[in-house]
């Protein structure tokens, strides 16, 4: 049973389809692991054990009867607690929505259930997704399984998704990413997560942080696992007018292991130059590994990203306060202090500043497009530092002192701004034994190439196979 929880999504789906293991057996194995470890990890807000076992029995009945099976039949799934789930509370990690029970699933949840996935529960998160550390004062801070002392943050805001996948409490989870909230916990917890192109996956039925920056995507232990899940959840949705009508390719089929001749742009100023030496060394080593696989690596400079922090603040603070305005007038005392303070800031952003931020955004998008016109993917660290300690507010990168929150989102946010697909995957460990992540950024709607490069790297390395001490 112990080995089953470390089995990949791809293998679990195959083993279930060929009746090598039963969906009930698989679901029980993960639920037992949640019961054993989540008291420490605090990755779940709500465990839906009974309904998961009911779904597993139904999947087993489908298998026995030879009825049509989805590509994820019987595969357990965790959901960041901002994806609406019919009949199961969706808290957004908040006290305000503690008893909010949606009547319908989010579109992506409905699609994954239709593909056969079994929802094991709702995962912890930074309250209302407004923070990159993954802190939650209402349900407890999720703990990074890579730190046996339990003092490190998971990164956020999809903190429970990062911790649960890293510790094999679920084989795959959904996260959302407004400034890096899939990729940051993926990097800090040593797993793989992809933020697809803006418009690739529906946000309908997902609590927003900032509508124009929010993305949803899978977090798993490999690019191959992300590929199979992304294919099942992506695609046009009339309920989300920003989704694209472009067809969703078979991402799994794109994973050929072959990247000979692919052009990789290593983002040097701002990204590599703004990271801790051990992070830079790990990503540099990954670039050499990609060269060893036949890719052609050159260095790229993106000048437009320097004002992204200010511009992103103007957009996210304005959009977030617009969504929360009524609660901020009537229930502001029910927010955790850091989130309440960030929301208040939105009141001081002017309309002119919001539009200027959107001008910056247009420039960033154009420059990233231009860099990708001559390259297949861009490569950069995901975060400039490994997981900080809970409560740590400042850090030092090189000679510069910086606040932890700004540092965590500095390298991921430009691609929420631009909307390009970006996948974080492990590429090393720090001197303290903490995971280091790198991100691969692709052309709009070319998640296939991003996943292909990530998968080729993972076929050649074993960083993604390492298990954390708390697991």
């Amino acid at each position: 049973m112990g080995g089953l929880v470390w089995t990949s999504v791809v293998d679990l789906a195959r083993m279930i389809a060929t009746k090598e293991v039963s969906p009930v057996e698989v679901t029980r194995a993960f639920l037992e692991r949640v019961a054993a470890l989540d008291g420490t990890l605090k990755s779940f807000i709500t465990v839906t054990g009974d309904s998961a076992l009911d779904a597993a029995r139904a999947a087993e009945a489908d298998l026995v009867a030879g009825r049509v099976q989805g590509p994820l039949l019987g595969v357990p799934l965790g959901l960041k607690d901002l994806f609406n789930t019919a009949g199961v509370r969706t808290t957004g990690g908040s006290k305000i929505l503690a008893d909010s029970v949606p009547t319908a699933d989010a579109t992506v949840v409905r699609r994954l259930r239709a593909a056969g996935a079994i929802v094991l529960g709702k995962l912890n998160m930074h309250e209302f997704a407004y923070g990159p550390e993954g802190l939650n004062e209402h349900y407890g801070h999720a703990r990074n399984p890579w730190d046996a002392q339990q003092t490190r943050v998971t990164g956020g805001s999809s903190s429970g998704s990062g911790a649960a996948v890293a510790a094999a409490l679920v084989p795959v989870a959904l996260g959302s990413d407004t400034g890096g909230s899939i990729r940051i916990p993926a990097a800090l917890c040593g797993i793989t997560g992809i933020k697809p192109t803006y418009g690739r996956a529906s946000r309908a039925g997902v609590l927003p942080l900032a509508w124009s920056m929010d993305h949803v995507g899978p977090m798993a232990r490999s690019a191959a696992d992300c590929a199979i899940v992304l294919r099942a959840m992506a695609g046009y949705d009339p309920a989300d007018p920003t989704t694209s009508v472009l067809p969703v390719p078979d991402y799994g089929a794109a994973l050929t292991g072959e990247i000979k001749g692919l052009r990789v742009g290593l983002l040097r100023p701002f990204f590599m130059d703004g990271s801790a030496p051990e992070v830079t060394a790990a990503v540099q080593s990954a670039a050499r590994a990609l060269e060893g696989l036949g890719a052609v690596v050159d260095e790229v400079r993106l000048e437009s990203v320097w004002p992204v922090a200010a511009a992103s603040f103007a957009i996210v603070a304005s959009e977030a306060l617009a969504y929360h305005a009524e609660w901020m007038r009537t229930r502001s005392g029910d927010y955790q202090p850091d989130v309440r303070e960030r929301l208040k800031m939105g009141a001081f952003v002017t309309g002119v500043q919001y539009v200027r931020a959107q001008q910056v955004r247009a420039r960033v998008r154009a420059e990233v497009d231009e860099a990708l016109a001559r390259r297949d993917v861009l490569l950069a660290p995901t975060t400039p530092l490994p997981a900080p300690v809970l409560g740590q507010t400042e850090t030092r990168i090189g000679d510069a002192k910086t606040d932890v929150r700004s540092a965590l989102i500095r390298l991921t946010r430009p691609f929420n701004f631009s909307g390009h697909p970006a996948c974080s995957l492990p590429c090393g460990v720090s001197g303290d034994g903490l995971p280091i992540g790198m991100q691969l950024v692709g052309r709009p709607f070319d998640e296939a190439t991003v996943l292909r490069v990530a998968d080729a790297y993972q076929r050649a390395t074993d960083w993604h196979r390492r298990r954390p001490p708390l697991a």
Binding site: Y198, S212, T242, L321, R329, K344, M345, T350, G419
Partner: protein
């Protein structure tokens, strides 16, 4: 701060505004930088749907 807060439709206390001041001053400084950027006639991103 008070005027901006009222314009936005909120009524936070003086103590709440004082607590906000250090973070807000940093944020306003960064917004000033945004205002000084030579963005010319760059068309702002107002249409999010790429395809």
């Amino acid at each position: 701060m008070r005027s901006a807060m009222r314009l936005a439709g909120f009524a936070w206390s003086d103590a709440e505004l004082d607590a906000l001041r250090p973070g807000l001053e940093r944020a306003l400084a960064s917004l000033d930088e945004l205002e000084r950027l030579p963005l010319g006639d760059t068309e702002p991103t107002t249409q999010y749907r790429i395809f």
